[in-house]
């Protein structure tokens, strides 16, 4: 799991079946000081996030487990919102 | 998967059981235009590829275990196909390569 900041949104109408209605966000992975740790990537959104939100994400096959349709080719997913980082 | 070129063979008599009866190749990653791209590494050959062949290499552990039909195979990189040809048709790419 890693921290991220939502920096953008991707629109794609033609998606793999089962991904209809799933929002895709551009996430900048960050550390506890909110400094970028790697290049931004695209994550499915299971937490109703918005631009500028600090979120936490899961990667790998487990990412798709956060979605309603679980057998989908998703390797990054926003699973929660961060209210406060205490570090 | 990535595109790579077979540049050599490794002969090893003492090897882990999972590697038994498999040839180990030295592969050099290439871009789709045949230019070397990154460092060479070793991969298990499942398709009788030979030196000089352009090949498809899988670099993922669980795929490797599926291919070797061995849940505990200590392997990650596998040559899974010999490439006949790579067709680059994207106009943007053509433009870029023609400039080189």
């Amino acid at each position: 799991m890693y921290l991220g900041k939502v920096i953008g949104r991707v629109v794609a109408t033609q998606k793999y079946e089962g991904l209809e209605g799933v929002r895709l966000m551009v996430v900048q992975p960050i550390d506890h000081d909110q400094k970028p740790t790697q290049a931004p990537l695209v994550a499915a959104d299971a937490a109703q996030s918005g631009l500028g939100d600090i979120v936490y994400c899961e990667s790998g096959r487990e990412a798709s487990m956060a979605l309603d349709e679980k057998f989908v080719p998703v390797d990054q997913c926003i699973v929660g919102h961060v209210d406060e980082i205490d570090a | 998967m990535i595109i790579a070129r077979v540049i050599g063979n490794i002969v090893a008599t003492v090897k882990h059981a999972a590697y038994h009866a498999h040839k180990i190749l030295i592969v050099q990653p290439e871009d789709p235009f045949g230019k070397p791209d990154g460092d060479s590494f070793l991969a298990i050959d499942l398709v009788q590829a030979g030196v000089g062949d352009q090949v498809l290499v899988l670099e993922e552990g669980s795929s490797a275990r599926l291919l070797l039909e061995n849940d505990t195979a200590p392997a990650r990189c596998i040559v899974v196909g010999v490439i006949d040809h790579v067709d680059i048709e994207d106009p943007q790419e053509m433009e870029k390569t023609s400039k080189h």
């Binding site: 953008g8 794609a12 695209v42 080719p73 | 499942l46 899974v80 010999v82 790579v86 994207d90 943007q92």
Partner: protein
């Protein structure tokens, strides 16, 4: 997932039987600013993508979570064709 542009295809007849019958596309990876990163990946197409299209691809075991690639040794799959994306409210890419 990562951004990429489909630039061509790979034809291979001498393949492992477990990866037969896949459409293999060459994808040039893009960064979120829609610039070439200089790297490439060969991915299985699960959405009917064509050459020139900007797509999203998933890697790792997630790539096996499609009907076509289920339990197959596949490490990258194209799972969406992008219409547009924006960063900080600015449109970076829009399909023509």
């Amino acid at each position: 997932m990562q951004f990429g542009r489909v630039i061509g295809s790979v034809v291979s007849t001498q393949k492992d039987p477990k990866i037969m019958n896949f459409k293999l596309l060459v994808v040039r990876t893009l960064n979120p600013a829609n610039e070439d990163t200089g790297s490439y990946v060969v991915a299985v197409d699960a959405v009917g993508a064509g050459v020139g299209e900007v797509v999203l691809y998933a890697t790792g075991s997630s790539a096996r979570q499609t009907v076509q690639t289920d339990a197959k040794p596949i490490d990258a799959v194209i799972m969406a064709i992008i219409d547009s994306w924006d960063i900080q409210g600015e449109v970076v890419f829009r399909k023509e």
